[in-house]
């Protein structure tokens, strides 16, 4: 798309500050092996047409991210050292979790589809910090980050990936279907756009019970082209429900870039079809995410209806473990890994004297151990018993009714 550069406008939300343009800093070395951050593009595999398209797009996504992204600067007062460290820890936990999950997939311990959240951590983490434990969250199949961020244990999430009885849903769901009623993480769903109407119902429940709660509904850029998405946003707006619609725009739906699938690739602008506020914000900066989300939450809790935020983010890995990922260029991947949200928070913590390198290393080691423990736990846990097979098809059912 030759015209893309002009098309993708950047209306950065969050604070009033002008976005600071980050220069590429080279590859992240602390938060994971650079080889994890994406796959080699193998040009020999590509048609000439493919290469042309990619080159044009690459420029624009990087350009857009440059406009949108800013370094962590003025952190709001309510986020003290504990909170910032908590954010860092959680982002690092998710990253580490995903890295280990990928390894376990390669070892054949995890099967089916596995979609990793690496690179997008700031979105789940920053947004969750702006919510309360009574707020609902719901998302797609790329759901490990959302599960961990609500406080589900690495053990129960990893065990679910392994399909074990100790998994959060007893091995019945797997990677795409994390759930915790207690933590109000109302599930990962595998049908693109399918969770959006459900999120509207969760928000209806919030309004009905009038407890000041809301529902944060996460989905990808590709999902915004599903009919259910459109219907859901309209319905929420008509009913003025407390829904925060969170688009994690990582620029691709599998191998199709947002500019090739979405007639309005500035997704936040689609909010206008529902007279809903729509903003774009920096999804690679956890503080910016927090700020945008806080504003949205205030809007929702005031009874003003739903709110759409488009976070500019990037998945450091291919779509899923079975995706060769050849449709993205190394340059594009390099740029986004250069603004790794975890690394940025580490820099901030150090620059502001809240943590030393050593302290951070200690923290990361603890997280690594937590994830190792989760892996071991998952590995050693028993498979679900065969008697589980017919459990929970129906809540009220008689044995004689099986056909």
């Amino acid at each position: 798309m030759a015209t893309e550069k002009g098309r993708a406008s950047a209306a950065v939300a969050g604070r009033n500050g002008k976005s600071t343009v980050e220069e590429p800093k080279g590859e992240s070395t602390v938060h994971g092996d650079p080889s994890e951050a994406g796959i080699e593009s193998t040009p020999s595999d590509k048609s000439a047409a493919a290469e042309k398209v990619e080159a044009a797009e690459m420029a624009s996504f990087v350009e857009l991210a440059r406009q949108t992204h800013q370094e962590i600067t003025d952190v709001p007062d309510e986020l003290g050292k504990d909170e910032l460290l908590g954010m860092y820890r959680m982002m690092y936990l998710i990253r580490r979790f995903e890295t280990r999950a990928a390894q376990m997939y390669t070892q054949g311990k995890i099967k089916g589809f596995l979609h990793l959240y690496s690179g997008q951590e700031a979105v789940a983490v920053g947004s969750r910090f702006a919510l309360t434990p009574k707020d609902y969250m719901i998302t797609s199949y790329r759901d490990h980050g959302h599960a961990l961020v609500v406080g589900m244990s690495a053990r129960e999430v990893m065990a679910e990936l392994f399909g074990k009885s100790t998994g959060c849903v007893g091995g019945k769901g797997g990677s795409m279907h994390m759930f915790s009623a207690e933590k109000r993480m109302m599930g990962g769903y595998a049908i693109v756009g399918g969770s959006v109407p459900i999120s509207v119902g969760l928000a209806l429940g919030c309004k009905y019970k009038n407890e000041g709660t809301l529902c944060a509904s996460y989905f990808g850029d590709g999902a915004t082209n599903q009919g259910a998405w459109h219907e859901g946003l309209n319905l929420s707006a008509v009913w003025k429900l407390p829904n925060i619609f969170v688009c994690e725009n990582n620029f691709y739906g599998i191998g199709t870039s947002v500019t090739r699938s979405t007639a309005e690739p500035d997704i936040y602008k689609r909010a206008s079809s529902y007279r809903m506020p729509g903003v774009r914000a920096d999804g690679m900066n956890v503080i910016e995410v927090y700020q945008a989300m806080k504003k949205a939450a205030e809007h929702c809790r005031s009874g003003a209806g739903p709110y759409l935020i488009e976070f500019i983010t990037y998945r450091f890995r291919p779509h899923s473990m079975s995706d060769p990922g050849t449709y993205r260029t190394k340059e594009e991947e390099r740029f986004f890994t250069s603004i790794d949200p975890i690394e940025q928070m580490a820099e901030y913590l150090k620059a502001n004297g809240m943590q030393t390198d050593d302290e951070l290393k200690t923290l990361r080691k603890a997280v690594d151990a937590e994830v190792d423990d989760a892996v071991q736990f998952a590995d050693e846990s028993p498979m679900p018993g065969e008697e589980e097979l017919r459990k929970y098809v129906y809540k009220e059912w008689k044995d004689e009714w099986w056909g």
Binding site: G187, G205, V238, Y394, W397
Partner: protein, 332 residues
């Protein structure tokens, strides 16, 4: 017992359950201000207010999803399709979400919700409205499906569905809304899900109907009686779970069965009933179970053609006689 219409019985079911349980709410197109396109929800907005009776945009996928989400928070939504055929635009929400959430999430959350609306043919509504698609929902573990044929069951099954902890699809019949009948007054009266009902006892052949075809079976039984054939008539009522025991018991006595349904013959409810009878009563069957289904044709508009696509009483009679003595069964 009070006499009322099937429509009024449904309306009463909503009212009684909404009075009984403040978590019951109802949504759909034109259900509130307009009182329902078929007036089934008349007076609900006035009694329960707009918090509990919600008009929706023409967005079936969204409001089925909204019912699912609301049910997850503990509410008990009743979700109306203006016509059950419109459930097809929400098929993914029903089959992939409503039916699977309880299982997929290992019982952490159940969905006490009702899907409902009128279906069935015979009103010259053409191919896209006139259809009976219960079989799609029969073939969907996690969902229950009931089809009331009588006024009492309109109330009783609807109330059971509202109280049920699982998603239940209540398929009404447009052609029965105006039908009058007796309805128990007791607000605790419900018709249990999973129970068929023998409406007429007989010893020669079992006629199995559902929804409107139950009434056709009763009429066919009258005609058969004139020919000295004593037909038993069973109203299936609950498609899933299905009351195999009642069906089998009847066939053990009559040794013959005819199943009558408006949905397309191929792949319809009749195939499931026939297969179960074969499996559970094979050695009692003296003839193949006869399927009198809707023809495998999109419903045409013209009156004379439309009446040929849905089961007719003379076809049921023919089917019964075929089962009894191999008389010719010619279904055009």
């Amino acid at each position: 017992m009070a006499e009322m219409t099937y429509r009024e019985a449904l309306n009463l079911a909503f009212k009684e359950e909404m009075r009984r349980d403040p978590d019951v709410l109802l949504m759909g197109e034109d259900v509130a201000l307009y009182g329902g396109s078929f007036k089934v929800t008349k007076g609900l907005l006035e009694e329960f207010g707009e918090k509990r009776v919600l008009d929706t945009p023409i967005s079936e996928a969204a409001f089925v999803g909204a019912s699912i989400g609301a049910a997850m928070t503990g509410l008990k939504p009743i979700c109306e399709f203006l016509t059950v055929g419109f459930a097809l635009v929400a098929m993914d929400q029903i089959v992939n979400h409503a039916a699977k959430i309880y299982y997929m999430f290992n019982g952490q959350v159940n969905l006490p919700m009702v899907l409902r609306g009128p279906g069935g043919g015979g009103h010259q509504l053409g191919s896209q409205h006139g259809q009976s698609i219960e079989s799609y929902f029969l073939h969907c573990p996690g969902l229950k499906v009931v089809m009331p044929a009588t006024v009492a069951d309109a109330k009783g099954l609807m109330k059971a569905a509202i109280r049920d902890p699982d998603p239940v699809f209540v398929m009404e019949h447009e052609g029965l809304y105006g039908m009058r009948g007796e309805c128990p007054d007791d607000p605790e009266f419900i018709t249990p899900i999973g129970k068929a009902q023998v409406l007429r006892e007989g010893k020669d052949v079992t006629l199995i109907g559902l929804s409107k075809t139950t009434h056709q079976c009763l009429q066919a039984a009258e005609l058969l009686a004139k020919d000295g054939i004593d037909a038993e008539v069973i109203d299936l009522r609950s498609l899933n779970p299905m009351d195999d025991a009642t069906l089998v018991e009847s066939v053990k006595k009559t040794n013959r069965a005819v199943v009558v349904y408006e949905g397309w013959r191929t792949g319809g409810i009749g195939a499931e009933v026939a297969s179960r009878l074969m499996e559970k009563a094979f050695y009692y069957l003296d003839a193949p179970v006869v399927r009198i289904g809707g023809k495998d044709i999109p419903a045409p508009y013209a009156y004379n053609l439309e009446k040929l696509v849905y089961p007719r009483i003379e076809e049921i009679v023919m089917g019964a006689k075929y089962a009894l003595d191999g008389s010719p069964l010619i279904i055009r």
